[in-house]
């Protein structure tokens, strides 16, 4: 349902995002994973039409056949909320502290449907129940500061799905929350997605979370998608060196679920750090941090398809000699 073709985003003359191809079939949950500075949030914003004015975008983002990039702000605003919902990272800041919860949750309903008055309030209560919040009727009149972080995020989710969108874009929805709460929120997202047959684009730097929530994953670095495929394929059998590096750097992700294999081992880190805009090397963007880089990496690697929908772009993938 979501097809991205040759998406390029330029800021200040630098090309910060270049995605040749990325698909999200209906009813799927796709994870977009990468370090901070990898461009994953920018990509999500580009799809949403929420990039800053200075950014220049080209390419196509086809949502159910319609190219989103051709829409102006007014047209796009009809799609946002109604067909695409959003959940952002910090619920405390993403909710208006001076507006009652009920009003915020119902905003998309009031904007996109003809419901009025009591019908709207009923729908809001229904939504709050759906996200498992206690005493929804009373909650409608409360303010965000009266809720805990986890509850606030549930409110955000309720608000995001209020007008029954087909796609939900979630940008690090649990990063700002306590670990114990994270689990509940993630489960909630999964169940909502399955109940409503709603696709999810889940942006995160945490591979563990992505593995838990998503069916498919796209690994992104320097604004390029370096590997994509189903979660089992990419995490179970990664090819791109960045993917393997990410996996190795995350101690919670033993390749064979055997934690004892960690004892006595050194923690892997990826040498160097993510460069600033305009400082990425030509060709493969990861090559100046890759142990396996060679001269040929100065050329942009061509994508290689391996297995069912599993694609990577690397001259020296893992598994090679």
């Amino acid at each position: 349902m979501l097809e991205i073709c040759d998406l390029r985003v330029h800021i200040d003359g630098h090309e910060i995002i270049h995605i040749d191809e990325l698909d999200l079939p209906p009813g799927t949950r796709l994870g977009l994973v990468g370090e901070s500075g990898s461009g994953k949030t920018m990509t999500a914003k580009a799809i949403a039409g929420l990039l800053p004015d200075e950014a220049k975008v080209s390419g196509t983002v086809r949502f159910d056949g319609q190219d989103l990039l051709e829409l102006n702000d007014a047209e796009f605003s009809k799609i946002r909320g109604k067909r695409i919902g959003f959940v952002f990272q910090d619920p405390a800041r993403s909710l208006n502290p001076m507006m009652r919860i009920g009003r915020q949750v119902s905003e998309a309903i009031r904007l996109h449907t003809d419901l009025k008055g009591q019908a709207v309030t009923d729908k809001v209560v229904e939504l709050l129940e759906l996200v498992q919040l206690p005493d929804p009727a009373a909650l409608v009149r409360r303010y965000p500061h009266q809720l805990s972080g986890g509850q606030q995020q549930r409110v955000m989710i309720a608000a995001a799905i209020a007008a029954d969108p087909e796609l939900l874009i979630a940008d690090e929805p649990t990063t700002a929350l306590d670990v114990t709460v994270q689990d509940e929120i993630l489960r909630l997202l999964i169940s909502l997605s399955e109940q409503r047959n709603m696709s999810v684009l889940f942006v995160s730097h945490d591979l563990g979370v992505i593995r838990f929530v998503c069916d498919r994953v796209a690994v992104i670095y320097g604004g390029h998608v370096v590997e994509t495929g189903s979660v089992e394929d990419v995490i179970g059998r990664p090819y791109h060196r960045y993917t393997t590096a990410l996996l190795a750097a995350n101690p919670g992700m033993p390749k064979d679920d055997d934690f004892t294999s960690f004892i006595g081992q050194r923690l892997h880190t990826i040498p160097g750090s993510v460069p600033a805009i305009g400082r990425f090397p030509s060709g493969c963007r990861f090559r100046n941090r890759c142990e396996h880089a060679s001269a040929s990496c100065a050329e942009v690697p061509t994508p290689v398809t391996v297995g069912d929908g599993h694609r990577y772009s690397c001259w020296h993938p893992d598994g090679e000699g």
Binding site: E35, G37, T41, M42, Q89, T175, A276
Partner: protein, 303 residues
């Protein structure tokens, strides 16, 4: 610390970093805000004219020429005309500039020195005292400058000294208040603790570290205070409570033009515009400096 942890310690916005700006001097000068240039130009003109008046004015100060009163601008020998006592307008303006400069410089410097010292003292005082002391400073802000000036003028009599003193009394709490917040912030920084750690005493820290760190802020404050001083000096002179004859002042000049609105309506423009341009100049300069010192604010247009 693994990379995974490093990934978690990131800013919420997760935007890609923006690279550094241009290097060449010319480029950097061009990127300076226009307010800086405009303000700087106006202020320079003001200071120049004021200082010039010490050395030269078209006519000697207070030269009356009753036969030539109310000559319109463009009359030969009188570029901007004469006032109702036959004094050359250009000369009057220059002398007025001198007076404004004097009052503003003295009052701003004194107020800033005293105010900043008080502010630093409050910021550095122990935790329990800080709250009440800050409130005390806040209370000092309650009196509008003009009231202070009128009270002083009633007691001490009108004049430049009174006006200057009044501005000082009025602005000291302002300077103190502006200093307290940032000073406290700097004091909370780690490197200050480190300084204490290797034996530096408080006064030294205050001057060397805190003051140095907040100095951009103080410069901006100074500019704004200057503008305020110019305006209130003019207001006081206008009311007759400020500088007295024969010393010239824009404010008093403006007062005189009020009775001449029919006979010589153009006269009110000269001192009026002088005041506006000078105050505007200092305000713009302050804005420009603020932009230079804190580009973050500049991008979002904060003031």
């Amino acid at each position: 610390m693994t990379n995974a942890d490093a990934l978690r310690i990131t800013s919420a916005n997760d935007d890609l970093a923006i690279p550094a700006g241009p290097r060449s001097l010319w480029r950097r000068l061009r990127r300076l805000p226009i307010t800086l240039y405009l303000g700087g130009a106006l202020v320079s003109i003001f200071v120049f004219v004021a200082l010039l008046s010490f050395v030269w004015t078209p006519y000697p100060p207070n030269q009356l020429a009753m036969s030539n009163r109310l000559a319109p601008p463009g009359t030969p020998g009188f570029l901007l005309g004469t006032d109702r006592a036959g004094r050359d307008v250009t000369t009057e303006l220059m002398l007025g500039a001198r007076n404004s400069l004097y009052v503003s410089v003295v009052s701003t410097i004194v107020a800033m020195v005293v105010g900043t010292t008080i502010g630093l003292a409050v910021a550095g005082s122990n935790r329990f005292l800080q709250g009440p002391l800050t409130r005390l400073v806040d209370a000092g802000l309650a009196l509008p400058g003009i009231l202070t000036a009128l009270v002083l003028a009633a007691k001490l009599g009108p004049g430049n000294t009174t006006a200057t003193l009044a501005i000082i009394v009025w602005q000291i709490p302002v300077a103190a208040r502006v200093t307290i917040g940032p000073a406290r912030q700097v004091l909370a920084l780690d490197f200050v603790e480190a300084a204490y750690g290797y034996g530096r005493r408080k006064p030294y820290i205050m001057v060397r570290h805190v003051l140095q760190n907040i100095s951009p802020l103080l410069i901006v404050l100074g500019s704004v205070m200057f503008a305020a001083a110019i305006l209130i000096e003019a207001a006081l002179a206008f009311l007759g409570v400020g500088v007295q004859p024969p010393t010239s002042s824009w404010g008093r000049f403006l007062n005189e033009t009020q009775s001449l609105l029919e006979a010589a309506p153009y006269l009110m423009f000269f001192p009026g515009l002088a005041i506006v341009f000078t105050a505007l100049g200092f305000n713009l300069l302050g804005d420009g400096l603020r932009t230079v010192f804190d580009p973050q604010q500049a991008r979002t247009g904060l003031s």
